[in-house]
Symmetry: C2
Subunit: 246 residues, 2 copies
């Protein structure tokens, strides 16, 4: 068990910041595509719908890459964020459960960039096994050990029905997959050394109905603006409708 203190590079980066880094990165890429070379925290803040001080504090966790009076060099910032997020490495992904969701993930831009690469697709349905999704052939889940030996997946994505999610997770863990991204509506158990994150597509919907239910019939609580992801336990950006005066 590693002690406090020894860190990889620089300070510890708060989780709330980590969740926003991909958003900044996407915005920076767009600015670069439009030939903008430098960017101020204010410009980034407007595009990401956050406070400029938050942008500066977030970026300060990566180091001091800004220039006072000028702003940040967009290309440099992209490189730093990539490095912090590990996007400069190769991350083979194994997706288990090739239904509509698994297929959507396999085809999505986000799963084939930033160092990620769909290395393996697995399913238990004989009608699906053997078919191609993009350039990858779906293998049978029973071949997981073989597939793992070939691809050494860094992330296992669970996109199966909830009923088999734990079983699939156990299999992924047993072949040494160090990170699990769970899309099933079920709380999973993993050993302490495995990184687990959850994305529940319907929880967001229920959170929306909560706010909608309140804002309707005599309610007052406002909407919530959200930045980012769902996973984790959440992190985010909130804003009440009836905002308090300064």
């Amino acid at each position: 068990m590693a002690g406090e203190g020894s860190e990889f590079r620089g300070r510890r980066i708060p989780e709330a910041t980590v969740v926003r880094l991909p958003v900044y990165q996407r915005i920076l890429s767009e600015l670069l595509a439009g030939d903008q070379r430098t960017v101020s925290s204010e410009q980034l803040a407007v595009r990401a719908r956050v406070n400029a001080a938050k942008v500066r504090k977030d970026l300060s966790h990566l180091g001091s890459f800004g220039t006072r009076g000028t702003g940040y060099d967009a290309a440099l910032l992209v490189a730093q964020i990539d490095r912090a997020l590990g996007a400069d490495r190769d991350w083979p992904i194994a997706i288990v459960g090739i239904g509509n969701l698994g297929r959507a993930l396999a085809n999505s831009e986000g799963f084939s960039s930033h160092g990620f690469r769909v290395g393996a697709l697995l399913d238990a349905d004989p009608a699906v096994v053997g078919t191609m999704v993009g350039s990858v052939r779906v293998r049978h889940i029973d071949d997981l050990a073989t597939v793992a030996a070939e691809e050494r997946p860094a992330v296992g994505v669970v996109a199966t029905p909830a009923a088999v999610a734990q079983e699939v997770t156990d299999a992924l863990v047993s072949i040494g997959v160090p990170s699990i991204l769970n899309f099933a509506s079920r709380v999973l158990t993993v050993p302490p050394h495995v990184v687990l994150r959850n994305v529940d597509l319907s929880i967001e919907l229920q959170v929306m109905s909560f706010y909608q239910a309140r804002s309707g019939p005599g309610g007052v609580d406002g909407p919530v603006s959200s930045l980012g992801v769902v996973g984790r336990d959440g992190t985010g950006e909130r804003r009440r409708a009836g905002r308090r005066p300064r």
Copy 2:
């Protein structure tokens, strides 16, 4: 603009709590299905992988429904959570973008329970328009106004490519859809009265590579366990690997 203070029922419920309510609810439903009538905060906590005090504080926001020495009546609790989340009402959903993701959402359990109902499916692709997904026929996005008049969607789900996400959102807002759930990797702009939440499927992946990158080469920062959703900005449950002594 409503003032501070007047509330729907009871106190204001913290967002972090709202995100966990669906998880408690699912666990309670499972316990009820197994004929368990009462449940302690400790039991709920173990199953949801959270602290028992957090469960009690979360539930206390709904009122005092527990019995000291005994625990909570599971059925009563489900009813209370349903009411808080608005699951006792009807929430027609319009999904725009019937690719793999849209189809996955349309078929998912979470979009056809807790009061939700897939009321309309919309796409711009002539090859998709007219096809059936479940029991709903896909309509052309240009017919949005007509569809909206029939169904009055309470939630608009954006499952389109990022490039058209803002345009689609504007259309949904213009026909009076009060809540938008965005799955596109793009920061959206909506008027203040519209509730917006975001689910970015790839941000979680990037957060995972961040932790993986650190735990590997000389790093120290531990994994993050996550409860819940992805959307929003997250909420969550954190645990460091090298935990500090008490």
